[in-house]
Amino acid sequence: MSDPSDTRPRLRDSDLLRAFMDSTQAMVAFLVLTLLIIAVLLAPFIALTNPYDLATLDLLNSRIPPVWIDGGEWPYLLGTDSQGADMISLILYGMRTSLMVGVLAVMLSVTIGTILGLISGYFGGWAGTIIMRAADVQFTFPAIILALLIGGLAKGVLTPTAQAQFAIPMVVLALGISHWPHFARLVRGAVLVERNKDYVAAARLAGRGPFTIMRRHLLPNVVNPIAVLATLDIAFAVMGEATLSFLGFGLPPTEPSLGTLIRSGYNYLFSGEWWLVIFPALALMVLVVAVNLFGDWLRDALNPQLR
């Protein structure tokens, strides 16, 4: 029996699916993303060199230009870096790390934000106020400054070895923490709108507990805006990691990500070894553009008003 309060789009109804097929933008973006993800997952099998296995690198192969330039060598299609690692391999592994960091960071933000937003919106009271004040406090700081701070704090508190081991979790934490307020506010706003509606009152009268109500009725109505924000947030998280790593407060060079690749490659931009920075930068752009285009389309598609 369909629930009149449930306004989720159903894929079977194919409104969304049809919108997807109609939009070239969405299909191209999705296709690119899928290809990238597949390539990244296959990295251990298709990559020539493994930046994590130092024995596969040979200094004698360092700084070879892309194959179409004088001095280039097959099979190093896009050239090699200063340690002899193949650029394509680096980019694949790097993108894997960047995507992983981005997705994990967003998952963290979404989880924290949704839980806190639900509590704050549904229960209100002093807990709710504290949560929102905390969000306000955090909103006073631009995300990047906060992330820089957390990175700096990590470096101060942990021993160097722990830092290297926990570099990825630290960056995920920094980025994740810096974005939870967005989701909290979103969820809280939606909950505030819904909780006064009749069907919620009815559920409460019927004896349903708050968590059941949250799960069955409130959450589904919040899924759409969360999905849109989360998708777009992945793009920001990936760029955030790149920026943090570029400034030196993200991942170390031994943990290749698109950010660390650009950081090391930047120093060679003007010396003629441009491939060390241009290809990772292009890869970053392609990834982020694809995610953004898809997220944009998703937002337009899920927003009933804009159709």
């Binding site: 306000d136 400054i145 820089l148 700096g152 008003q305």
Partner: protein, 330 residues
């Protein structure tokens, strides 16, 4: 109304307090300044002496109180590395960041507004869609990548613009400005442009989205039905209502411009607060770190409070202390 103002100010103070404690605690956890200052030559006695001199072993509440009283007096400490008063350093570097962010904001509004309006009015045409897609690319390129490419093109290849620094600056009171000299203006162009690119895209998309909303509104349809010319409709009615949220967002954007200025300042060696912060973070210069954190918080709290109050003034529904809403009436 008065109640609202009081409430907002009280909130601001609470936020500042929390931030000050956090800023203080955070900055005391970042690294050991003693080793940075003394280098490898220090004997254990030297280090103990320095720790005592810096008051590093006093209990935290004491250090915090000292910190706050000093801040309120305008004394922000002395940099560990350069041994200069932090307040002086900040006053010196503030104009650079302000000018950079200000010019970037002007760029982004000046380019973003017309583009956004065009895209909203001509919705459906391929040109408008193309703009939308391009704007996505604008948002997707990190600031530092843009900065690098700009330097490569305009500085190294063409030699038109300087690749670092502010050029010649003129001292006006305690402010130093690069706006009054040709070299200063030339030096501003690339960093501001690099910052502005992602903001242009955001402004354009925001303007477009807002304006599309507004254009659907009933009062617009009535205006059309009354036979008002499209241009009049677009520019006077719709635009005015679009501008309010755009302007408030720009106010907040200014704040975020400051944040991304950190990156632009790093690449262009722009002697502003952002670069100061990065350098302090890298060399564990604790007094600078705390001071900048606090000032940043104060700045953003101020902006947010002002924006909230402005909203209240504009939208009568808010004066009752309700949710943030959007003005819809003409």
């Amino acid at each position: 109304m008065i109640a609202l103002i009081a409430q907002r100010i009280a909130q601001a103070i609470v936020v500042l307090f929390v931030v000050s404690v956090l800023a203080f605690l955070l900055s005391t956890q970042i690294g050991d300044p003693v080793a940075s200052i003394l280098g490898l030559q220090a004997t254990p006695e030297d280090r103990l002496e320095l720790r005592a001199a810096l008051g590093l072993d006093d209990p935290w509440p004491t250090r915090y109180l000292e910190f706050v009283t000093n801040v309120l007096r305008g004394e922000l400490g002395v940099s560990y590395i350069t041994q200069r008063p932090v307040s002086e350093l900040i006053v010196e570097r503030l104009p650079a960041t302000f000018e950079l962010a200000g010019v970037a904001l002007l760029f982004s509004l000046g380019v973003g507004l017309p583009i956004g309006i065009y895209a909203a009015i001509n919705r459906g045409r391929w040109s408008a869609d193309a703009i939308l897609s391009l704007s996505v690319i604008g948002v997707s390129v990190p600031t530092f990548v843009i900065a690098i490419l700009l330097i490569f093109l305009f500085s190294v290849t063409l030699g038109w613009l300087p690749s670092f620094g502010r050029g010649q600056v003129v001292q006006v009171g305690w402010w130093t400005t690069g706006l009054l000299t040709p070299s200063g203006l030339k030096a501003l162009i690339m960093p501001a442009a690099a910052l502005a690119v992602s903001q242009v895209a955001l402004v354009a998309r925001l303007v477009r989205a807002e304006m599309i909303e507004v254009l659907r509104a009933d009062y617009i349809r009535f205006a059309r039905a009354r036979g008002l010319k499209p241009r009049v409709i677009h520019l006077s009615l719709a635009l005015r209502n679009t501008l309010i949220p755009v302007i408030t967002v720009s106010g907040i954007q200014l704040g975020f411009l400051f944040a991304f200025a950190v990156v632009a300042e790093a690449v262009f060696q722009w002697p502003g607060i952002g670069l100061l912060f990065l350098q302090a973070l890298g060399s564990t210069d604790v007094p600078i770190i705390s001071a900048i954190l606090l000032l940043t918080a104060a700045f953003f709290v101020a902006i947010n409070t002002i924006v909230d109050l402005l909203y209240a003034v504009v939208d009568p529904r808010l004066r009752a202390g309700g949710l943030n809403g959007r003005p819809a009436g003409a």
